[in-house]
Symmetry: C2
Subunit: 246 residues, 2 copies
């Protein structure tokens, strides 16, 4: 039986999603729980990795397991064995051809920023920018990122890839109704390059600071050159919010 | 010169407020930063301690320091030397007779509870109760706690004290406007016994579960016996929200 799991985690407690020898990772911890349950190695296939310190609200992965157990009991058993900073929110049965990475149709990331006073309690959960930004100009810039573009300028430096073309379906800048100093940027896209969201947020911040104008996004996209973009925003503000399948 | 500092901290990163040999504590970290700045030991006097895993949004402490420095520069210097999970929000100059503990007129604690799905990202910041509670009955119970009472039933077991009488000035149960499954209880009082807030929240939860009625608060107070109360709610939901001086 193939299962699709939906899970959340606190990225500050792991050395990233992907399994690495001798390091505590999200994949490593889930596979450890599965091994305890099944008494054998059960590899999991995630929708994609998240970097160290990046959080997930609804990450997805599939695995194959032959056990006489309902999905409700499987969820309970896995959560009781699992590291407390990871939680399996849902388990679905899927057919044998389903693949949690290859079948992805879209993903949504969100990025949280605090323009107000430094908050040590949210240090690992919200980027502590701690200065005012021009949100209206950032909102205009966001709209230039929507659509199908070559995002090479926003990829990881020295990334070797044949194709940097991706589609951003929708973006939003969401003001916090309880705190005027906090806001969230959301990016819904068919797929993202490594560091793409953090590099886009980096340029958006420079636009919010007044160092660039919103239209500069067009020149940066056109250049297809990482050096034309700006800083990489820190990982702690980033959350994988959702993964969609066809 | 005597200074009063207002600071916040993430309690999950420390073994409590009070200095202890070889353990990372809030007081210990602030005194370490002061020693680096002043090149000598500068003891700080807090408004009171918080237990391990308990957070503070506006804790207060005073210390004496003779340095030719403005309070703005002192704040900047201390924050740059300080552990990132503690932040000094304000520094005020006070007169030599001021004492951050003895002059307290009131304190406010808040306690955060999540009745919804387990959230691994808020595990250390909101009590993950993860079941429904009867908030209206809990609100009625809260009102019985207001006023001047002998709170011995809500004190730490085996606490040796002459006087367990304290005054709770105001309580509130605040629903979260964005998430119906989350709420916060606030307690404003002239002073609190050790574990008093967590023990009151423990009984309130039993009332919210329907195991007790709101009026039982009266019998528990009357008994002056720790065994008549209930569980001690876990520390991670508790925040010292503010400290007031006459």
């Amino acid at each position: 039986m193939r299962y699709l799991i939906t899970f959340s985690y606190d990225g500050s407690k792991f050395k990233g999603y992907q399994k690495q020898p001798r390091l505590k990772t999200v994949q490593g911890e889930i596979e450890k729980a599965l091994k305890e349950l099944a008494n054998k190695d059960i590899p999991i296939f995630g929708s994609g990795r998240t970097d160290a310190s990046v959080h997930a609200l609804n990450q997805k992965a599939h695995f194959d397991l032959d056990m006489d157990i309902t999905k409700e009991k499987l969820q309970k058993a896995l959560n009781s064995l699992l590291n407390n900073y990871i939680y399996i929110k849902k388990i679905e049965e899927v057919n044998d051809t389903f693949h949690a990475r290859f079948n992805v149709s879209a993903k949504e990331y969100i990025y949280k920023i605090n323009m107000g006073e430094y908050d040590p309690i949210e240090k690992d959960y919200v980027y502590q920018y701690n200065k005012k930004l021009d949100l209206a100009e950032m909102e205009r810039a966001l709209k230039y990122l929507e659509g199908t573009h070559d995002f090479k300028s926003f990829s990881k430096a020295d990334e070797e890839k044949d194709n940097f073309t991706r589609t951003i379906i929708q973006t939003n800048l969401i003001r916090n109704i309880k705190n005027v100093n906090k806001f969230t940027i959301s990016f819904l896209g068919t797929g993202f390059l490594r560091y793409q969201v953090r590099n886009m947020v980096g340029v958006l911040i420079e636009i919010g600071e007044g160092k660039r104008k919103s239209e500069d996004i067009l020149n940066i996209l056109e250049a297809k050159d990482r050096r034309k973009a700006g800083i990489t925003a820190p990982p702690e503000g980033l959350y994988l919010n959702d993964v969609y399948y066809r």
